[in-house]
Amino acid sequence: MSERGKRGGPGSRRPVARRYALALGLIALPLLFAVFGPLFAGPAGARGVSFTGGQGHWLGTDFAGRDVWRQVLLGGRSVVLVAVAATGAAYLVAIPLGLAAALTRRTWLAEVLIRPLDVLLAVPSLLFVLLVAALFRPGPAELVLVVALVIVPDAARVVVSAATEIAARPVVEALRMQGESWWRTAVGYVARSMRRTLAADCGIRLAGALYLVATAAFLGVGVAPDASDWAVMVDRNRVGLFLQPWAVVVPAALIVALSMGTNLLFDAALQDPDERVGERL
């Protein structure tokens, strides 16, 4: 049932290299802004008139009269940090859960661990985020937990299917018969064997987390209404789109580039004939 078919034969090295280049080109700028932007932002200047161009602000001013360029430099960190932290947190839950379900010989335990995830998968992700937002008014830290919770079912499914396949190998049987501990078998062999599949899956989850975090921020979840955040900038400066498009276009373009770059990077890795990561994805 390989859905990848016979894509990317030995001759397809060049297009893959081109894809890597395109992906890195797209991701470089937003990532540089996100990581180093705050270091170069400098102190907040005096607030000017809302939605004007020029006057020392080369990208103009935003809805509160702040310098758009400074907001752009500051605004990437929260999106990237929350998304990365949420993906990490999701795997922190998904990997032990998946390993436990795949390696146990008690069927009922696997069922108890996995069935609730099937049910959770039916909950629309943005709806869940909004529901939590309506009740608890989450901040960035809580948003990490919520987004992680949304990602866990998918991630755990991938872990289970990868680990189940590996756990059926003769090596695992041999390890068991030698009386190796559960820990040695699970972490020392099974978890190590599936790290490539997980690396590929990680890209998909990260792209999903970026989407969810940015969209939540756009809808006002997990951020202050005047936060320096690209998604918040797009939302709040929309009213001035006719007067001062840069306050919206620049952060929106950075989010698009970040998201496209992440996708293309992991897609190129999936198709790379040299690496062959994640055969079954």
Binding site: E3, G5, K6, V123, A252
Partner: protein, 317 residues
């Protein structure tokens, strides 16, 4: 016939389980509010009158089990509760917003299937060719781009710079059918993500199917390439795409919420966002139940269709 029926039974059971879990989850989240829920919900306007209203409306003086039973009983009769803000029944609010959302989702869903299947089949015609590379690259790039960022860029280019279509739905009063030009950009943005994933799956499925022995045999029998492609290979290629429909429904729902906010369309998404901002819990709960049940039903339908197209595929359960 009997394994089929057993599968159907298990699948329906999963659907029922998902619905029940959803209802309990939505209810339990409200229970998880720290301290006195009424005080917490009153939040910015903590006057005693409002707190009393919330307490009465949510029935906070009764036990949680009693309230859950009451709420579920109401849901079964189509009673979704009463808004804390306007005092109107949630069902009324829902009916108001339903029209624009249905138009938006309906037009998108109608265009989605032919567009993504066509694109996938087109890309699969010559694997690795220039068309395939372009389509694959583009679909890989776009499939997780947030709708609001894409939408704002599209508005800037096509509505503000070029002036081809209106930038928002302001002034239409929610009657989208009367102003089809207003629909162009929202539908375009809504289509962006699902078209990408489904066409990728169709492409991969088509490449597998066209290389399979039965396709080769059909060609040997002298069937035209068109017939082999569309009548023999495509149904098998659609099976994995059908399973993706479940995820697509999730995306369309999220997309509709964002797109309605972005293009100022007075649909269910706008009702939901307004209720979230006002912490109008009964409205949020009612909408969550409706959206959740729609998702469960669509998933169920998608699995049934997939099962019909390729009966050996083990879907769900």
């Amino acid at each position: 016939m009997s394994p089929d029926r057993a599968w159907l039974g298990r699948r329906l059971l999963l659907g029922v389980g998902q619905t029940a879990a959803l209802v309990v989850l939505i209810f339990a989240l409200t229970e998880a509010l720290p301290g006195d829920a009424a005080v917490a919900l009153a939040g910015d306007q903590p006057d005693p009158q409002r707190i009393a209203l919330i307490r009465e409306n949510l029935g906070l003086d009764r036990s949680a089990g009693e309230r859950l039973l009451d709420w579920v009983g109401g849901l079964a009769h189509g009673d979704l509760g009463t808004s804390l803000v306007s005092g109107r029944p949630v069902a009324d609010l829902l009916a108001d917003g339903l029209g624009p959302t249905l138009v938006l989702a309906g037009v998108t869903a109608t265009l989605l299937v032919p567009l993504s299947v066509g694109l996938g089949v087109l890309a699969a015609r010559r694997e690795g060719g220039p068309v395939d590379r372009t389509v694959s690259g583009l679909t890989a790039a776009v499939h997780a781009v947030p709708e609001f960022a894409l939408g704002v860029l599209v508005i800037t280019v096509f509505a503000l710079r070029l002036g081809w279509v209106p930038p928002t739905a302001i002034g239409t009063g929610g009657d989208l059918w009367a102003h089809p030009d207003v629909l162009v950009l929202p539908v375009l943005v809504l289509l962006s993500r699902p078209v990408c994933t489904i066409s990728r799956l169709v492409r991969a499925g088509m490449i597998d199917a066209m290389a399979s022995p039965y396709a080769a045999h059909a060609r040997r029998l002298g069937l035209t390439p068109t017939r082999v492609r569309w009548a023999h290979a495509l149904p098998n290629a659609l099976a994995p795409a059908g399973q993706q429909l479940a995820r697509t429904c999730d995306w369309l729902l999220g997309g509709v919420i964002v797109v309605e906010a972005l293009f100022v369309i007075p649909g269910l998404g706008t009702v939901l966002i307004d209720a979230v901002a006002a912490r109008d819990i009964p409205v949020v709960q009612g909408l969550a139940v409706v959206f959740g049940v729609v998702t469960v039903v669509v998933n169920l339908g998608a699995d049934l269709v997939t099962r019909r197209l390729a009966p050996r595929a083990e879907v769900a359960a």
